[in-house]
Symmetry: C2
Subunit: 517 residues, 2 copies
């Protein structure tokens, strides 16, 4: 059957290769049906975690009046019902009690807001699409939420150089669609693309599905503009590919999760949109086969390899059972999604064929399906991209996003599974194997403190032993900040604290996040 | 003839395409014949530029004794003859008067050196291969030179992930050769590869010929270790592709030219070595043709495009006359080198063919030659890579390395040429057009203050008008630091100064560099 598939691939018109069907049709990959688990209020963060409010001022009616004078009234939100979404994270695991959300449209408005908050010593929580997974984008106590939702203008696009400049509140998918019309694409793609803001992506150094090909945002972001805690603007909005004039300050704001400044504009290098994209969905018998297949796709697909993802059986079970999606192949212990994207469809097909013949012929891949038809590829991608959502249907998710050297990669999931036994609903692993990035997830019906303590700090110790990272792409936010020592040296943390102190002496920007207590 | 060439390309065995011969055969691209211009001592920096020595201690015999106790005696250089090379830059335009060069082998030795210098308030000039072009790698006064020449160990290579860890004194070409044996390559390549150190590359955020394909070092460097002015080690030597645990401190050391810390180790992501490489050397009638050809090669070569360089007639004249190299084609106003590298030679050839047919058929390319035979490609590359060396034979070189938006790109050279008339030997332009990076060079028989003032600050004003960068890849070093304001805002420069103050309160690390007086 597999030989057949490879042969089919070289002969059949692309959209008739192997039929895959299921119900996933939405263009927006991140639309959640929250009805099943959205019934009760989330417990307050300050109740679940032992933490004391910082020495900040409390917001008062004169502050609100000041903000109303600055912004139109509908851009100053104080209604409790409306506030709930801004106070609660997407995973519904943490909740703050902010009493005001501000929605500036311009950098100047952000400057005025920050000047006021700085003078009054009011703490601020910058918020983009609020799709973060570590509690970094919601207030812990009563921080003023500064939302970038209305800062959504695309300022310029240079088609020749591929550089786009936009405000930080632009939604990732909107940008990708706009670029697509101009033969370009965003250098990053992630499950939350329909909701997340580019400013949030930059502030958290978001990784995602295309990092393997296009690298991290430290490489693709050419420039940015940020507003400091004091209200000062740092203008590093260069749209040049090369600029070695002084310290490259933009990197201070990439990945610092809004604790050093609020990103207001971004200049980003956008790659040419590939003319041909093909996705292979493969079934494999062992994790060794996964690693060998990764090695083989690097060699055989070379410069057209654009994604290399893996899913274990338990993750697949979750997404098929909880969301009613259908796997295109019989059950296997492991699955891989390997995407090839290039400028010449015939060449790409031949390369993919060579790869499939090799991996199937040698038995490292046991079954699979291939498509380059857009809606079918989306259906296949949904099996990977909607796992996070599917897990929420189990109840409570304990979420770990770790970098692990490939030789130890899946062992971590197995060890955790053995440790937890049947005390949990599920312990599964999936993620960006091509980047050494594992999403380890454990679910229980409800949050359980005892289970929590059996997972943490064990998972961090285990990661640290193999010199991995306790947060590959999600950041530290509120939930993981106290574990920074598992991945960073004391000297490095000390230098980070000095940086924070220098750039935000009152500590008003996204307090309780990133740096340890 | 051009149609013919494209046809030839698709039929002929690769090494017989179009014969190109000249005398350049060396593997080391950076071997200089300095006999012609190496006769006299370079004028002291402190004489040519009005500058006052900082408030640092003077080195005394007890310091030398201390260093001799720490390092073997041959690693403490104090002989005047031996010192000269460390005191003078490669361009022979600046010269310091350091009386001691230290050659540590380990991070621990660098730590001890810096602790001593910090306690004694001795200024330090870190030096790699001393191939910098802005006077950043040589002392201005009597700074202690800390050379990484003996820190040249490769520590590890993970063939699967492509991550190499090495000490900062490894020579770029040595690393590239080592990787080549393992099917990998360095993500950067530059004319100085035979001499420059990876630590210097990282500290100056070196660009070069492969940036177009593999991006900047902010993307490829996964981790590093640096020693601060105080002697503290900052260990960010992660070899993980993804690690979002706290502020990404490594970026502070990438491109800060040794003013914030001495880079001692580097972990770098190395791409797979392409199986096929082909180089097209083209002649064009106008700069518009150059831009259109760039656009076309982006479209037709897509993911296999690995370099896009241009040379103007005056630069070509310089390299052929001064170094006796031969152009493979008749004279044209402009030349381009377009390199394609990929995993499948047949596919790459077909793509290149499509590109050549399009550009030649439409007349945007007037003549050319193509080769994938290594020694011939090297011969062709020499015409581009040895321009810097050829210019030195004219006498004194006024060197500008600027980023300019493509539409204004060559206009800057023309304007400068008109401004200077026949008062100079040469005013020429070449460089990384695919990255918007122009090397503008002017030569005179000897340094001439009047000419200098006709060039500067005019060239910076002109660059600033079109929102370019006054230093694309060379950095600011000593020579360009006072012009930072043409490319960076006051707020940004202020923040840089705060950073410097925080990380090196005594200002002992590479003083008089990067930040303005």
């Amino acid at each position: 059957m597999l030989k057949q598939m490879a042969q089919l691939l070289s002969r059949a018109p692309r959209n008739r290769l192997i039929a895959v069907t299921n119900g996933f049709q939405s263009q927006r990959k991140f639309q959640l049906d929250t009805s099943a688990w959205h019934h009760a209020k989330v417990e307050l963060t300050s109740k679940r975690y032992p933490i004391r409010r910082g020495d900040f001022s409390q917001i008062n009616p004169r502050d609100i009046e000041y903000f109303r004078g600055l912004l139109d009234s509908h851009r100053v939100i104080t209604e409790e019902n409306e506030l709930e979404g801004y106070n609660t994270d997407w995973l519904r695991t943490v909740r703050g009690v902010s009493s005001v959300v501000l929605k500036p449209r311009t950098t100047e408005e952000v400057v005025t807001i920050m000047k006021h908050c700085s003078e009054r010593k009011l703490a601020v929580c910058p918020q983009g699409g609020n799709t973060g997974l570590v509690g970094g984008s919601v207030p812990v106590f009563d921080e003023v939420v500064v939302s970038t939702a209305l800062m959504n203008k695309i300022e310029s696009l240079d088609e020749l150089s591929g550089v786009m400049v936009c405000q930080s509140g632009c939604v990732l998918e909107t940008l990708d669609n706009y670029l697509s019309e101009n033969g370009l694409m965003m250098p990053l793609d992630l499950g939350a693309k329909g909701s997340c803001h580019i400013g949030g992506n930059v502030s958290t150094n978001a990784g995602g599905l295309r990092l393997l090909r296009y690298g991290s945002l430290h490489g693709s972001v050419l420039g940015l503009e940020a507003v400091l805690a004091s209200g000062e603007v740092v203008d590093c909005l260069s749209s040049l590919k090369k600029d070695n004039t002084g310290y490259d300050l933009k990197h201070l704001f990439i990945g610092s999760e809004g604790t050093l400044g609020i990103v207001t504009k971004v200049a980003i290098q956008c790659p040419t949109k590939p003319r041909s994209v093909t996705l292979a969905f493969l079934g494999l018998e062992s994790f060794d086969d996964v690693l060998n297949t990764f090695k083989e796709c690097k060699a055989k697909l070379g410069e057209i390899l654009s994604s290399c993802e893996f899913i274990d059986a338990s993750s697949m079970e979750c997404v098929t059972q909880n969301l009613n999606l259908k796997s295109p192949i019989e059950p296997y212990p492991f699955y891989m999604l390997i995407e090839a994207a290039g400028s010449n469809g015939d060449h790409d097909e031949e390369k993919l064929n060579n790869f499939l013949e090799e991996t199937m012929g040698s038995g490292m891949v046991s079954d699979g399906t291939v498509s380059s038809e857009p809606s079918r590829m989306m259906t296949l991608w949904a099996l990977r991209e909607r796992i996070a959502e599917a897990l929420l249907h189990d109840g409570y998710t304990y979420k770990y996003d770790i970098s692990i050297p490939l030789l130890d990669f899946y062992k971590v999931v197995e060890d955790m599974r053995e440790r937890l036994g049947d005390s949990v609903v599920r312990c599964c692993g999936y993620g960006h194997v091509g980047d050494g990035n594992l999403h380890l997830n454990i679910t229980t019906r409800e949050y359980d403190q005892e289970i929590f303590h059996r997972i943490e700090p064990f998972v961090y110790e285990r990661t640290s032993q193999v010199k991995g990272s306790i947060s590959a792409e999600h950041g530290l936010g509120f939930k993981k900040r106290n574990y920074i020592g598992y991945s960073k040296s004391d000297n490095a943390v000390h230098l980070m604290k000095q940086l924070k102190k220098m750039m935000d002496p009152q500590g008003i920007l996204n307090p309780y996040k990133v740096l340890p207590e």
